[in-house]
Structure formats: structure tokens, C-alpha cells
């Protein structure tokens, strides 16, 4: 060991570079990746303040100030998109966490190992499929002519429903599909938290004559509170970002449903891909990014005050 680095005092940056050149080289591919795909596009956000056209490019196109944002606000579009995105996410967060906790607690009551493994595998399955397939499945269940739901209604003598043109039904459908897809996966975290609870707490509760329900109520649930709070806070931090794949594959370009189903992501995607509208879409994206950034910072600040170890930074 003698002769190796025992020098005191701050090392010069060149010395540090020389000492850690291998570790630095190991990070180079990732650094290049994030610079190329995440940092280089950043200046492009300037498009939000211009009347962009291909010929003049991003910085040559005429500057229009906040006009793109004005248009979005005046047309009411920004409000509809923000409202839909936030409300859907709120429903996902609240219902999702309740259901995940319930499933985790019940899974913990299950004693048969094979049953636990098998049911967990079944519950994870929806998480593994592409959102395209989720769209296929929904169509399979809901379409007018051959959908399973309408087949059932017809069998019982009712009149089939045109679900793909009833906007009112879709918040319920989208929330159900989301829960179907994410509950099994999301319950893992809570299940692990339950496994981490000190077993002696349960034994003490049993000795004190607590029933199974009381043990859940007074031991399990309070122990899950920190996990719950942290997960919800971080989810709230991401409340401006929607699950694009889910919404797009369920609804797509079906304008009859937009009022209740259009979120920021789907709207931006449609603007870019089918309308070639780069100015409005960049403006919406920038608004989403800034708003979302403020929310994450707030969420992290609160988490930090609760428990420093859980904070992201």
C-alpha cells in the first residue's frame, strides 16, 4: 500500500482527471447519449416564441413573443388539456395506491406459496404488453358490432351501446384500463414494505388480543404510511405528464371523445404528426415542462422535510 495516494490537500483537476480517467471513460457513452438526445434539443424550445418555418430554421424564423401561448389560452385548449391531464393523474394516483395497498395486504394474508406466485404472475401480465395491445383488448371488449360487452347486452335482450362515440363513458374506461395494467406491478412496492415490517409487532398485537382486522388497521397500515406518502408525493410531482401510449391507443384520433380524453401528450403528438404544427406543440410542451419542473421541485422539497433519505436530491 505504501507509495500510493496518501497526499493531503485538494488535488488539482488534472490530477483528478488522470486518476479517474478509466471511470470517466466508462461514463462517456452515457454522457454522449444524454447530451445528444436530451440536451441538444433544448435550444429548440425557442420555437415556442417564433412563427417557425422549415426554410428559416429555428433561430431564423420570425419572433412572435408569447403569441403562441396567447392563442392556446384564449382558445381554452390549454385549460382543457391541463384539466384532463391532472384529473386523470389524480384518479390514477388515488385509486391506484388504494388498490395497490389492498392487493399487497391481501397477498400477504395468502399463505400458499404456489398461489401467491401464480396470482402475482397473472397480475403482472398486463404490465408486460405494449400499449398497442391494450388498445386491441379494449376494442375487443367495447366495439359496437362484435365487442364482448355488447355481445353480452344483446344476449340478455338489450340494445348495444355505441361506446366509441360516447365521450362520457371514457374517463371510467381509461381509469379501469389503467388500474388493470398497473395495479399488480405497483403492489410490489407495498408488498415489499409489508415484508419489511417487524414480525414481533404482529406477535405483540396478537398477544394483546388484536383480531386480524385490527392487526391490519393498527400495525400494517401505519407502517405503510411513509411509503405511501413518498410514492404519492412523487406521483404528484409528475402529475403534468400523462401516459401517452394508453390514451393514444384507446382513443387515438377519435375526435368525438376529445373533450373528456385529450391530454397534453396526445394533443402534442397529433399536432406534430398529423398537422405538422411545430409552434403550438412546442409551446404546449414548454408549458408542460416548466409547470412539471416546478411541481417536482415542490414535491421533492416536501419529501425532504419529511425524510431526507427519501429525497431525490
Amino acid at each position: 500500500m505504501s507509495g500510493t495516494d496518501t497526499a493531503r490537500g485538494p488535488k488539482s483537476i488534472w490530477r483528478q482527471l488522470a486518476d479517474s480517467k478509466v471511470l470517466l471513460l466508462m461514463c462517456v457513452p452515457a454522457i454522449i447519449f444524454f447530451i445528444v438526445f436530451n440536451y441538444m434539443p433544448l435550444p429548440g424550445a425557442w420555437i415556442a416564441f417564433t412563427n417557425f418555418n422549415y426554410r428559416d430554421g429555428i433561430f431564423g424564423s420570425p419572433f412572435v413573443g408569447f403569441k403562441n401561448f396567447e392563442f392556446l389560452i384564449k382558445s381554452g385548449q390549454l385549460w382543457t388539456l391541463t384539466r384532463n391531464t391532472i384529473l386523470y393523474n389524480l384518479a390514477f394516483i388515488v385509486l391506484g395506491n388504494i388498490l395497490q395497498i389492498a392487493i399487497a395486504i391481501m397477498l400477504n394474508e395468502v399463505r400458499l406459496a404456489w398461489f401467491k406466485k401464480l396470482s402475482q404472475a397473472a397480475m403482472f401480465l398486463p404490465f408486460f404488453i405494449s400499449s398497442v395491445l391494450v388498445g386491441v383488448i379494449a376494442f375487443n371488449l367495447l366495439n359496437y358490432d362484435t365487442g364482448a360487452l355488447n355481445a353480452l347486452i344483446k344476449q340478455t335482450g338489450g340494445d348495444p351501446i355505441k361506446i366509441y362515440s360516447s365521450a362520457g363513458a371514457w374517463p371510467l374506461i381509461i381509469i379501469m384500463v389503467h388500474l388493470w395494467q398497473s395495479t399488480g406491478y405497483g403492489s410490489i412496492v407495498y408488498f415489499a414494505a409489508i415484508m419489511g415490517i417487524d414480525r414481533s409487532l404482529y406477535e405483540a398485537a396478537t398477544v394483546d388480543g388484536a383480531s386480524a382486522w385490527q392487526r391490519i388497521r393498527f400495525v400494517t397500515l401505519p407502517s405503510l404510511k411513509p411509503t405511501f406518502i413518498i410514492l404519492v408525493l412523487f406521483a404528484l410531482g409528475g402529475i403534468m405528464h400523462g401516459n401517452f401510449g394508453l390514451f393514444w391507443n384507446l382513443v387515438g384520433n377519435n375526435a368525438a371523445l376529445f373533450q373528456t380524453t385529450d391530454i397534453i401528450e396526445t394533443s402534442v403528438y397529433r399536432m406534430v404528426l398529423s398537422q405538422n404544427n411545430f409552434t403550438t406543440s412546442t409551446a404546449v410542451g414548454l408549458y408542460q415542462s416548466l409547470f412539471g419542473f416546478a411541481l417536482v421541485m415542490t414535491a421533492n422539497w416536501i419529501v425532504r422535510r419529511i425524510n431526507k433519505d427519501y429525497a431525490l436530491f
Binding site: M1, Q16, P41, R111, S119, V132, Y144, Y164, E203, L290
Partner: protein
């Protein structure tokens, strides 16, 4: 340093999976009630998760006429393999899509895993003076992004990757979350192992490749699965950057197009009372969906135990 020290058991795979220790207590009434409710609810929810898959499989094995007459159901109606025969009658398209997707998934997962684990390892090393700077550079991308439109213009126009499989392949190689997950996994490698490698005079890369990597199997399985899923289920970047410029679309995007041809029709008549009897084959769509999904589901049983521990470790501090 003895090699036996390196082979120290490394146990994260037990997290979240180990069955709770059976308690030696008498079951009273409320226990039985709660336990029964649990078994029943879990069974119902598991069936709820499975049912759509069963219906899809049944539909793909039914005859078109039966589906048109009585709709989708749980069991195959008028069993028929016609839809699968139809797919493989002109197999060029589907085989091409398979090849594109398999090549992307295999190479993407391998290269992505290599870069992610290298980066995660370096960022975990406490004696690496730039770890915080680089961590921040990576993490910041999750906080603030340019958004879809500027990114699209940059990649498609400035990088010139429109119509190039690389636009899809490269962008799926890594995510900040997976790097953080890998970094968290590295915490489970005892620091003495790295120290001992240094004492033996091994370089940083050799310590990583020969001492750390072999201990990271659960991490590699978990992150590998996430990467593989990302590539296999990819349709979004393909829709942006490939569109109809390539002959063989990645599998899910191919499926997306099969489905959407019908959707376009469906939407155009959504408001009217016209019944959409002229739609492309229903059973064919279901068979395509099965063919496009099958292989990735078969992968799952092999990685289940790692996967559970993987998300557990990476979940909260994601």
C-alpha cells in the same frame, strides 16, 4: 484476497418474495374471514387481469363468421386456425418485422446493459470525483425536457435519422431511471471487494468486469428485462421516425398499423348508425396480436424472481 471471498452470497433476490414466516398462533374467527376474503379477492383480480388475454386467444382461434354473429367471448367459437393460416400465407411481412424487432431487442438490450452497468458502477464509486456532476447531468433530463416537437426536429432533421432504424434503436438504449436503478443495485456489492481488487492491482475496468458484474445477476436480469420490454413493445418512436419509410416495421408498430386501418374506418362511422360489417377480419387482428406478443410473455417466468426484487430496490428512490 481469496477467491472464496468474492463468491460471497449475494442476496437481493429474496426481497419481496420470501414467504412470511408462518406464525404459530391459533386462527380465530377474524383471521379466517380476512384470509378467505383475501384468497377470493386475489383470485378474482388475477382472473380480471387474465381474462382479456384469454378472450384474445379465443377470438384468434374462432371462425370469422362466429365472431361476426355472436361477438367476442371467453371460449373459442367454432374453432378455426384460419386466422393464423392467413398470417403465414404471406409471411414475408411478419417475418421481416420479427427479424427487425428481434435484432433490435437483442443488440439493444446487450449494448444498453453494458453501458448502463458501466455508468452505474462508475457513479457508485465513492472515490470518483465527478460522480455528482455526471449524476446531475443524467438526472436533470428527467426534470426538464425540450418536449416532443423540438426533439423530433432535432433527431429527424438535424441528425438526419428520419426513416433510419437507428432513430428508434439509439433512443431506447438507456433511461436515467435505469442508470439510477443500476447505481442502487451496486450498493449491494460490498466495498471491500472493490478495495481488494485495487490492492491486487486491477484496473477500474477490470474490477468492474471481473469482480462486480458476476455479482450483479439480479440487477442485469431486471434491467435487461426492462430494456427488452422497451424494445419489444416499441411502436411510438417508430410512428414518429419510421412511419411508412421502411419496408419492415418493428413488430408492435406493424400491429398498430393493422389495427389502425380498422380504427380509421371505425372512427369515420362512429357517429352514424352504419354497422361496420366491411371491417378487416376481426380474428386476423387477434391472431396478429397474439403473434406479436407471445415471445416476450414467454420470457417472463424466467425473470420473475429477479424482477420483483429489482423493482423493490429501485422503486422509491427512482
Amino acid at each position: 484476497m481469496h477467491s472464496s471471498d468474492l463468491a460471497r452470497p449475494f442476496d437481493t433476490e429474496g426481497v419481496g418474495l420470501g414467504p412470511a414466516k408462518p406464525r404459530a398462533i391459533k386462527l380465530d374467527g377474524s383471521d379466517i374471514v380476512i384470509r378467505s376474503i383475501s384468497y377470493i379477492t386475489i383470485t378474482l383480480f388475477a382472473l380480471f387481469c387474465l381474462l382479456p388475454f384469454i378472450m384474445m386467444l379465443s377470438a384468434s382461434l374462432s371462425s370469422e363468421a362466429a365472431i361476426m354473429k355472436s361477438g367476442f367471448g371467453i371460449l373459442p367459437k367454432d374453432f378455426s386456425l384460419a386466422a393464423y393460416e392467413w398470417i403465414f400465407k404471406a409471411p414475408k411481412q411478419i417475418i421481416g418485422s420479427y427479424v427487425v424487432t428481434i435484432v433490435m431487442t437483442v443488440f439493444g438490450t446487450a449494448i444498453g446493459l453494458f453501458i448502463i452497468s458501466m455508468t452505474g458502477y462508475a457513479l457508485h464509486r465513492k472515490d470518483f470525483p465527478f460522480r455528482n456532476h455526471i449524476s446531475f447531468l443524467i438526472y436533470f433530463t428527467t426534470l426538464f425536457s425540450a418536449g416532443l416537437a423540438p426533439t423530433f426536429l432535432w433527431v429527424a432533421r438535424d441528425l438526419g435519422l428520419r426513416g433510419n432504424y437507428l432513430a428508434v434503436f439509439l433512443q431506447l438504449l438507456m433511461t436515467p431511471w435505469l442508470i439510477i436503478l443500476m447505481k442502487n443495485f451496486m450498493r449491494t456489492v460490498p466495498y471491500e471487494i472493490i478495495e481488494s481488487g485495487k490492492v491486487d492491482g486491477a484496473g477500474d475496468f477490470r474490477i468492474f468486469a471481473q469482480l462486480c458484474l458476476p455479482m450483479m445477476k439480479p440487477a442485469l436480469a431486471t434491467i435487461g428485462l426492462f430494456l427488452a420490454l422497451g424494445y419489444w413493445n416499441e411502436w411510438y418512436l417508430s410512428s414518429l421516425y419510421l412511419g411508412s419509410t421502411v419496408e419492415f416495421k418493428p413488430l408492435q408498430y406493424h400491429l398498430y398499423n393493422i389495427i389502425n386501418t380498422a380504427n380509421a374506418l371505425r372512427n369515420s362511422v362512429a357517429g352514424s348508425n352504419v354497422s361496420v360489417t366491411a371491417l378487416p377480419s376481426n380474428t386476423l387482428k387477434m391472431a396478429s396480436a397474439i403473434v406479436a406478443t407471445g415471445p416476450i410473455l414467454l420470457l417472463y417466468p424466467f425473470v420473475q424472481k429477479y424482477f420483483v426484487s429489482g423493482i423493490t430496490i429501485g422503486a422509491v428512490k427512482g
